[in-house]
Symmetry: none
Subunit: 418 residues, 2 copies
């Protein structure tokens, strides 16, 4: 088997290393590079200090086949990339007249004289190839040093992305013999990571296939990364087998050419095929149920309120007759909501999630009542959620929506509204 | 001057290195560490490969004084941190009985048997100190290796943050002679980053003070980082001046000893001092308004619905009389909602945010009508929001709540309910 082609991502800038901004460039580049077929060895970030930049550049030149660097190409004194490259690799900077003319035109088009400081951006290291920047003033450049092919790009995401896509990607495809890997993701609801792993223990995976788990609240993902040229039929058989072992916890599968997507997308397809709508009332999930269904026309409405009594009165229920016990109140509320809203399905969650605890003491898990009313009757159950308050709300919303998914999967596809 | 105390941040996980998720932990930790007084040398990320983890751990042990590592402490086979530490630093893993008991109790409280795979999480390297995890199953640990003090924390942000704040920060403060910098953050709503920067151009900042801007949707933050021993009075004067230049866009100021907090916290203090409550109806913000007020008892209710007509009928309005024009419908809905709910204030947002565009074509900005009904009358306005659909919803909710903030600030504190 061929040796994997190793790529690194190098972000520079004080604002990234001190956490003033979150580095979204690195994740974007990593996805693109992995998709192209690179094995991502490492991301590194350092601030605007010459000796730190030089050290990292020299390290990378020895261990990676390719490195994409972002940031530090601006006109100000703290933009040190070109200088660091010159020092690290003994390639003195020279004026690139075409780059200077381009920067000049950038200012001409805007009707400003070019500030003298921008001349600095036209200085590129010896024996490097310029990358034109059509959206800004900072040109980039590429060079080969040691085993590593470096591409230096500006840190502004829009400029970086345009230059990577138009100029770097074609060079990488031409320069390296890349073989893309294949990622298949099973999205699940309701099972913890360790339970997922236990269920999959019987699966016989070839050593070349990598199995991973990821908590993507409210979902838990099971990921299979297949090496290049792994037989498609064999991959499908493995994923089918995993899917059977996980049973109906599997919400959807991404990467197999079927419609995948999250819980709301899956429910949405089932509701739309039945021309059905959903109404909800949330006293525990604080709007998360509505939010998880954002943009979906089948969510007719959701009432977010502090307690069951207010939901009851919003639905025009007679005061004083709603039982205090949520286990009894849940189904009543769901039925009344269904009737009142005209939606075919109604979901209610009742419970209190402690938001104000400053995390000093663990408030203990929260018990929440979920109720679902539909054309085939009303069901309810209690669930226990833990973790941060936001995670609890997200879980409550997802478990409630998952009850609807199960009900829709069990019910025959209705031909008319029942 | 003392030598700076060097800190590194080490994130691990295939999902981070391949860009499946953006690493927000690193930025959060960097801010906290910088605030404590560390000089941040580098962030590094590697995937779930034993030899890569081992290599990076050994590098860091030689060059940093402190390193905070996140991720890889879960129960599954791809969680390799403890094993990598054992190998890198020749510290065999041993069972920590207290940790095992804690993990057992975590499952007991939820009424599940502990899966056997979770035993792995109780295995910690020799001569390390356990860090308890009160929100999840993965304990962390600290150890001294070479010149470096390492803290290993889970990758789940809520767990990581709680453990860092409660357990790691005090140990770092005790172990290192740190001279903390001082960070003051002005939280603003309604002005873009470049406008904020323009407004502050007249501010004369000493060279040692760093001014930064950060889009923290829906807020925009203006941050002042003062060096150790910067005179308190001088810092206060600068922040006062900045606050005056930004005017009523400033929602609150964190780091000056006053009650700060986000928009909901600020509004909450004003509503509670008036014993007032809020009702809302959201057709544009999809539950974000309710979500931004989560856990706040003063939010009586929020109705999330697809269009104004449904809100109107939920409020018992006569069919057919609500004007189609949102500019006319908004105030009517807000007034009816206020009356119907018994809340002192009612906020309504009307508009359609395009969620389904796969970003292939920019759908253009969205126009949304905001209306506020209160004891002093009804006001409405139209706002334009852009960016991703989620950002638009978040902005709509915040701008709507900000109208309430202005109304509360302008109105005299009521003595009785009006």
């Amino acid at each position: 088997m061929d040796r994997p082609v190793l790529a690194e991502i190098f972000s520079q800038g004080d604002e990234v290393v001190t956490g003033q901004i979150t580095d979204t460039n690195a994740a974007w580049l990593a996805q693109r590079l992995q998709h192209l077929g690179f094995d991502i060895l490492r991301h590194s970030t350092v601030g605007d200090r010459l000796e730190r930049l030089v050290g990292l550049l020299r390290e990378i030149a020895c261990r990676a086949d390719c490195c994409v660097c972002t940031g530090g190409l601006g006109p100000t004194v703290d933009d040190l990339t070109a200088e660091a490259v010159a020092l690290a690799f003994e390639r003195p900077l020279g004026l690139d007249r075409d780059a200077l003319a381009q920067i000049g035109r950038y200012f001409d088009r805007r009707g400003y004289p070019m500030p003298a400081t921008n001349t600095k951006q036209a200085m590129v290291p010896n024996a490097s190839q310029r990358l034109d920047n059509l959206c800004g003033t900072a040109p980039g450049f590429t060079l080969q040093q040691g085993r590593c092919f470096f591409a230096f790009l500006p840190g502004v995401p829009a400029e970086m992305k345009a230059m990577f896509t138009q100029q770097v990607e074609p060079r990488l495809a031409a320069r390296f013999r890349l073989r893309p890997t294949r990622l298949i993701i099973l999205r699940t609801i309701g099972l913890g990571e360790s339970t997922l792993q236990q269920r999959l223990e019987g699966l016989e995976l070839p050593a070349s296939v990598r199995l991973g788990f990821r908590a993507a609240v409210p979902e838990n993902e099971v990921k299979f990364l297949f090496p290049p040229d792994f037989p498609v039929a064999e991959a499908s058989a493995l994923v089918d087998q995993a899917s059977r072992l996980l049973g109906d916890a599997v919400v959807s599968i991404d990467g197999v050419g079927l419609p995948g997507g999250n819980l709301a997308a899956v429910i949405g397809r089932m509701l739309l095929s039945r021309s059905a709508t959903l109404a909800a009332a949330e006293t525990a999930s604080a709007g998360q149920l509505a939010w998880q269904c954002r943009g979906q026309r089948w969510l007719a409405q959701s009432l977010v309120a502090g307690d069951a009594g207010r939901v009851w009165s919003l639905l025009g229920g007679d005061p004083g007759i709603l039982p205090d016990d949520p286990v009894q109140a849940g189904p009543l509320l769901a039925e009344r909501l269904r009737e009142n809203s005209g939606a075919r399905y109604a979901l209610v969650n009742l419970g209190t999630i402690p938001h104000d605890s400053a995390l000093a003491a663990d408030p203990g898990p929260s018990t929440v009542t979920l109720a679902l009313a539909g054309p085939h009757g009303t069901v309810s159950r209690q669930v226990i959620v833990a973790g941060s308050p936001d995670r609890r709300c997200s879980q409550v919303a997802a478990l409630s929506l998952d009850d609807l998914r199960h009900a829709l999967a069990a019910a025959p596809e209705a031909t008319g509204k029942t």
